[in-house]
């Protein structure tokens, strides 16, 4: 398989706020192969979006962000690139799909303009060819009657159609990595599924790697190769999708799983919500960040922060995992 497409090592992002420095991403490491799909799951405020944007380099020139660690995309150090090098990378190397298609498209620009300018930014083509490409793109993301749609304004499209345009915009230059930041959260339930299927299909057709970010494990289930669960700016559990869904080890991951409405359950079954609120990242708690909301909390959890410990490819940051393997259980107490 060769070297991975994306390697993130010990990445931290500290944001200057009015209350003090906020550590939105705290020592995150992950890697992604070509064509692989990684799901990143966590509540809002867990640092998923900041992580995604930092990986892309969108926060590089923002003076409010202090970044440390490394992000290597296809061998290049993203955090060390010049702004012009970053702009050359955004599009052909990495693209992004945003949460809310209502706000991700410029209300005063026609659908076609969004695509044509993206194409012409990175390819030396005539306007006519760029329009041709834009039509192909709209066709590719399953928008019927592209010739009519291309001249419409975003507000004339439904939410699902708009999100397809946003996807087409991100794919205009065939990126090797697509970051989808909650691509279905703002959409109707029926449309959510279509968009997810579309992303699945496009990944297969274009052979790109995908990072799928969601607060909903159900969105990620069955569509990802691997899943990372984020809490309080840290990755608390990461594993291949099957083993995480079958046997989650971190209490937070298992609580999230319990929150997925079961298809077999009664139609109005109550969801198991997780009580409490996420930790304050300006003044994070000293021990395990999930301790305040954990059902299985022990005294040492509040003092000693757990490290992410791997058993094969399954990593967990918990002193007392829910589905412990023999080997990890013996490790947790001997934490350094």
């Amino acid at each position: 398989m060769g070297r991975p497409l994306l390697v993130v090592e010990n990445l931290s992002a500290v944001i200057t706020t009015g209350r003090g420095p906020l550590t939105a991403v705290d020592g995150v490491s992950l890697s992604l192969d070509r064509g692989e799909v990684l799901g990143i799951v966590g509540e809002s405020g867990s640092g998923k979006s900041v992580l995604a944007r930092t990986i892309m380099g969108l926060h590089c020139s923002d003076p409010r962000f202090a970044l440390s660690g490394t992000v290597k995309l296809d061998g290049r150090d993203v955090l060390g690139l010049e702004p012009s090098q970053l702009r050359a990378m955004w599009g052909p190397e990495v693209g992004m799909v945003f949460q809310d298609p209502m706000t991700a498209l410029n209300p005063v620009k026609r659908v076609g303009t969004h695509l044509v300018e993206a194409v012409r930014k990175h390819q030396q083509v005539t306007r006519r060819d760029a329009v041709g490409q834009a039509l192909d793109l709209l066709d590719m993301v399953g928008i019927p009657d592209p010739r009519r749609r291309i001249n419409q304004f975003p507000h004339q499209l439904s939410g699902g159609m708009r999100q397809r345009v946003v996807i087409a915009m991100a794919l205009a230059n065939r990126p090797k990595l697509l970051i989808a930041d909650e691509p279905t959260t703002a959409l109707d339930v029926t449309v959510q599924r279509q968009i997810l299927d579309l992303l699945d299909r496009l990944r297969g057709e274009l052979g790109m790697a995908v990072i799928m970010i969601s607060h909903d494990l159900g969105v990620v289930a069955g569509r990802t190769d691997r899943v990372a669960v984020m809490y309080g700016g840290e990755i608390v559990e990461t594993a291949d999708a099957r083993s995480l869904f079958d046997a989650p080890r971190h209490p937070y991951a298992s609580a999230l799983l319990a929150a997925i409405p079961s298809l077999k359950g009664a139609p109005h079954q109550r969801l198991a919500a997780i009580d409490g609120t996420p930790p304050d990242l300006v003044m994070p708690p000293s021990g395990c960040r999930f301790a305040a909301r954990c059902d299985a909390v022990h005294d040492d959890c509040r003092v000693q922060p757990p490290q992410l410990i791997f058993d094969g490819t399954h990593g967990t940051a918990c002193h007392y995992p829910v589905n412990p393997l023999i080997s990890t259980a013996s490790n947790t107490s001997g934490d350094t």
């Binding site: 944007r53 892309m56 969108l58 702009r87 050359a88 990378m89 955004w90 599009g91 052909p92 693209g95 992004m96 945003f98 949460q99 809310d100 706000t103 991700a104 498209l105 410029n106 209300p107 005063v108 620009k109 300018e117 993206a118 930014k121 990175h122 304004f153 507000h155 004339q156 946003v166 915009m169 991100a170 205009a172 230059n173």
Partner: protein
């Protein structure tokens, strides 16, 4: 010198609301638009009627007798009475108003009551192009200055340069236009000898000469407009730059300049356009003062001269024409929202 930020309907743009059926919504929307248009036109007519009536009724407030203005002092009572009768001053106010409005509709605004008794409309038509050119040049210059300033300021919001620009524009807003004009004359015309003062060169005498003579007055007008536009545009740009579609544009590799002009400027220009409309009165005011200051043959010089000699007929005509232009321009500005935001074209009127 006008009522800033008192226009109510500026914020009611965009925000497409979810409604049951698209077709029903469109039909209801069309009906609402027609109704609103009708109400607007009715209001506009009422406003114009009241303005013309008010302009005319000013006469009844008059302290100095027009007959004395025309004949001068020391004539017999009968002489004055004859002049008054001749001017129709002894008829009832409404009757005179109807006469005046009737002739005005036919393009007859009467003749000046002081020598050399020129036709008022002729004088206005001669003066108007000068004023319009000055005002347009002033606004054009203001846009030229304020767009880059506001962009720079918004892009570096909170930085040192941004704070200097904010302080500078706020200070400029406190400098009356006649003071600004005098200072500019002092510094650029007398001090450096770059520009002429108190001369005018008509457009048909050559564009270069015309612009050369118009530069300093237009710059004076542009100063306050620049400050106002920069402030409004800056704050809207800061809001726009936080939008997702700006991030989306960055994420597909677009450059900063492209994003500023192509993505951020137009959605940020609503308040600026509204402010242009609101400050139109101030613009006309400063044009009047600048013309008077530079002795340019425009509407301002005309109306100030007429006011000083008590030539109420000329003042009436000029005020009527200026009010018409003012109201019409404001209506045009309302229409321009449709261009700036395509959403307004369909959903709201």
């Amino acid at each position: 010198m006008t009522n800033q930020s008192v226009k109510d309907d500026a914020g009611a743009l965009g925000s497409a609301s979810a409604a049951p059926s698209l077709r029903a919504r469109r039909r209801a929307g069309a009906w609402r638009r027609t109704r609103r248009l009708f109400v607007r036109v009715a209001e506009l007519m009422a406003v114009l009627f009241l303005v013309s009536l008010g302009t005319f009724a000013l006469l009844s407030l008059i302290d100095t007798d027009p007959a004395v203005t025309i004949l001068g002092e020391g004539h017999t009572q009968a002489d004055y009475e004859a002049v008054r009768e001749d001017l129709g001053l002894n008829d009832p106010l409404l009757e005179r108003y109807a006469d005046w409005l009737g002739s005005a509709a036919h393009g007859d605004l009467g003749a000046s009551i002081v020598p050399p008794y020129h036709d008022v409309l002729d004088r206005i038509m001669a003066a108007l192009p000068v004023s319009v050119e000055l005002a347009l040049l002033g606004v054009g210059m203001a846009l030229l200055f304020s767009i880059p300033l506001a962009m720079w300021s918004a892009y570096h919001a909170g930085g040192r340069i941004d704070r200097w620009i904010s302080a500078g524009t706020f200070s400029v807003l406190s400098v009356p236009s006649f003071l600004a004009g005098l200072l500019l004359i002092w510094l650029l015309s007398n001090g450096l000898g770059w520009f002429p003062r108190a001369e005018w060169s008509r457009l048909d005498e050559g564009l270069g000469a015309n612009l050369y003579h118009a530069f300093l007055p237009a710059l004076t007008i542009a100063l306050a407009e620049t400050a106002l536009l920069t402030r409004v545009l800056r704050s809207d740009l800061i809001t726009t730059l936080q939008e997702d579609y700006i991030l989306a544009a960055r994420a597909k590799g677009m450059g900063t300049v492209h994003i500023m002009f192509s993505d951020a400027l137009r959605p940020s220009s609503f308040s600026a356009v509204t402010i242009l409309g609101i400050s139109l009165g101030r613009l006309i005011g400063s044009t009047v003062i600048v013309e008077y200051l530079f002795a340019l043959p425009g509407m301002g010089t005309l109306v100030v001269g007429a006011a000083r000699t008590g030539d109420y007929v000329t003042v009436q005509g000029a005020v009527l024409v200026i009010a018409l232009i003012y109201v019409a321009t404001n209506a045009l500005i309302d229409l321009s929202y449709g261009y700036l935001d395509p959403r307004v074209r369909r959903s709201h009127a």
